[in-house]
């Protein structure tokens, strides 16, 4: 009986999880989106919309691969910068026995209290002042800024697992703090670095508002913004849009499943050591 309940819950969870994803595939495989007819199964396997994306054969999708490249560049730079800046800061705060270092950690934490959408309005103005409007770097800056406090938190927590005696031993051997960071801290932190890097990548890939507000030309646009353009038109081909959405979803899903072990270990190690 108990086992039956577990199986029922399991089946329910599968349906709940799969439904929107199944819907994406269903719409993408539909041959004529204009007359969407409420099939529960795709009537025929029609890969036309994927061909259109591949060849950029529709005017909304003219720059698709360029924009896909933009998304990748943005995600990758956010990941690298978050890991670099976060690990430097947490090394400085956590390993160097800085008096009052925790104050800085808390100031970083305050970022959490800021809703991303509140900051967006002044952020767009400031980016104009910096001359970064319509530049991918403005989006990278915003995402790095949001991801870094979390990175510092996780790194600080994870860093406690590395004995400070290692640093002392390195000091005695004449290592500079820079060498300690590069040769001892970073290699031992590898799982946390991977976890936080993936987190930053997913964050940037998930984000929409800043990309929408900051990027306007087709050249600098990312796929997230391009996807939204489909909503501007009444006759937009929904099957193309859903196929685009599926292609856009593949990199983060693949990254997550490839690095799942590191991710879970890194996030939860830092997360719940009581």
């Amino acid at each position: 009986m108990k086992r039956l309940g577990k199986i029922a819950l399991g089946v329910g969870l599968v349906v709940w999880t799969i439904m929107p994803i199944y819907n994406m595939i269903l719409v993408a495989l539909d041959d004529d989106a204009a007359e969407y007819s409420g099939h529960l199964w795709p009537s025929e396997m029609n890969f036309e919309s994927f061909r259109v994306i591949w060849t950029q054969d529709y005017w909304y999708l003219e720059h698709f691969w360029h924009q896909f490249g933009n998304s990748c560049f943005m995600g990758f730079m956010t990941m690298v910068l978050t890991v670099a800046i976060g690990s430097l800061a947490s090394f400085g705060l956590g390993r160097m026995r800085l008096r009052h270092g925790w104050v800085l950690g808390h100031v970083a934490l305050l970022t959490y209290a800021l809703p991303a959408s509140f900051l967006a309005i002044p952020f767009v103005h400031i980016m104009h002042r910096y001359g970064l409007s319509d530049s991918l770097w403005s989006v990278i800056a915003s995402q790095t800024m949001f991801a870094t406090p979390y990175a510092i938190l996780i790194f600080q927590q994870y860093g406690r697992l590395i004995p400070l005696e290692l640093d002392d031993a390195a000091r005695v051997d004449g290592a500079s703090p820079g060498q300690m960071y590069w040769r001892i801290y970073l290699p031992l932190m590898a799982p946390a670095l991977v976890a936080v890097g993936t987190y930053a990548l997913l964050l940037a890939w998930n984000e929409y508002l800043y990309q929408f507000l900051l990027l306007s030309s087709p050249q600098s646009m990312t796929v997230a913004v391009a996807l939204d353009q489909f909503f501007d038109s009444d006759e937009a081909p929904w099957n193309y849009m859903m196929a685009t959405a599926i292609v856009y979803s593949l990199p983060p899903v693949a990254t997550y499943y490839a690095l799942r072990r590191y991710m879970v270990a890194g996030l939860t190690m830092g997360g719940v050591k009581g």
């Binding site: 819950l9 969870l13 709940w16 439904m19 994803i21 819907n23 719409v27 969407y36 007819s37 409420g38 099939h39 529960l40 430097l88 400085g92 160097m96 026995r97 800085l98 008096r99 800085l104 959490y112 209290a113 809703p115 959408s117 509140f118 967006a120 309005i121 002044p122 952020f123 103005h125 400031i126 910096y130 800056a141 915003s142 790095t144 800024m145 870094t148 938190l153 002392d168 005695v172 500079s176 703090p177 820079g178 997913l202 998930n206 929409y208 507000l213 997230a224 996807l227 859903m242 959405a245 856009y248 979803s249 997550y256 499943y257 879970v264 996030l267 939860t268 997360g271 719940v272 050591k273």
Partner: protein
């Protein structure tokens, strides 16, 4: 930064002079710490402190709030935000807490199920929410087709009814974020030593009483911290409402994030938009303070 580290190289005297296990850093180490913290400091000042100060300045005129108060859409929007965040966060967190117990099971198929269950979290928000919108729109969306063809019920026009549209936003948010928190709570449960449960067993705490008197008190702080965090995140959430209901019907289900953004960029009144966002500050500051105190008190972090 490279300039800083260069001068540090010069400033570095024979390291052996420095006794180890010193309480606070000094001399060249002090300069090194500066170098380590400069990148984050620069990002913080240029991309956080300055925009925040600018935003506060934008929304500082009291006249703006008078203007907001006279807008008939403002109060309903605040109510929507509170309902959306209040229900969304609590159902997500409590559901995640219960599900984390389910996923504790060691059997192979439940482990495989967890891998699948994490999919919404890995999936980017926009495709997911576009799909939710598409699933519910018109009589031909997947949900209504299912209701019609399997159960022979004529489904409602979801985005024509206030409660259904608001509910759709909430359900989509839960779908997207429950997996992440389930994972966090699962790790929290796994960190509870088995002997505590063994002791509870001896005392006869099983089933619900085990959950109520052992698991929940031990996870209580984690639960509170996660709830606060997800509340703060959800208050700033623009994407869900923008893509799932897009304010339908007739801009009735907007939350402050979408309302403020529309004011700022579609109505071309950025100060008013900033003021709309700032109007939740009295709620958010106590939450943020509580969060920081909790994190500090326990050294238990997320």
């Amino acid at each position: 930064m490279s300039g800083a580290s260069q001068s540090l190289e010069i400033g570095r005297v024979s390291p052996a002079r420095r006794p180890f296990r010193f309480g606070t850093p000094r001399g060249s180490e002090r300069a090194w710490i500066g170098a380590f913290l400069i990148p984050y400091g620069a990002v913080f000042v240029a991309f956080l402190a300055y925009p925040v100060a600018f935003g506060l300045w934008m929304g500082s005129s009291p006249a703006l709030y008078g203007h907001l108060a006279r807008d008939p859409k403002f109060l309903p929007t605040v109510v929507n935000t509170l309902v959306y965040v209040g229900i969304g966060v609590n159902v997500t967190m409590f559901g995640a807490l219960l599900l984390s117990g389910y996923f504790l099971d060691k059997s192979r198929w439940i482990k495989a199920l967890l891998v699948l269950f994490m999919l919404p979290w890995a999936l980017p928000a926009i495709p997911a929410f576009v799909s939710w919108h598409w699933m519910l729109i018109s009589h031909h969306g997947l949900v209504n087709s299912l209701l019609d063809q399997v159960f022979d019920i004529e489904g409602p026009i979801w985005f024509n009814e206030y409660w259904l549209a608001l509910g759709a936003n909430i359900v989509a948010t839960i779908w997207k974020w429950m997996p992440f928190w389930t994972l966090i709570f699962l790790a929290g449960r796994m960190a509870i030593p088995q002997d505590i449960y063994d002791a509870a067993d001896v005392d006869g705490a099983v089933g619900i009483s085990r959950f109520a008197y052992v698991t929940f008190p031990l996870l209580g702080n984690l639960y509170l911290i996660c709830t606060l965090l997800s509340t703060l995140w959800l208050i700033g959430d623009f994407t869900t409402v923008n893509f799932v209901s897009n304010g339908a019907p007739a801009r009735m289900t907007e939350v402050l994030a979408t309302y403020g953004t529309h004011l700022a960029f579609q109505s071309g009144d950025p100060p008013l938009g900033a003021a709309a966002m700032l109007s939740l500050l009295p709620l958010m500051i106590p939450l943020a303070i509580l969060l920081i105190r909790k994190i500090r008190a326990d050294e238990l972090q997320l």
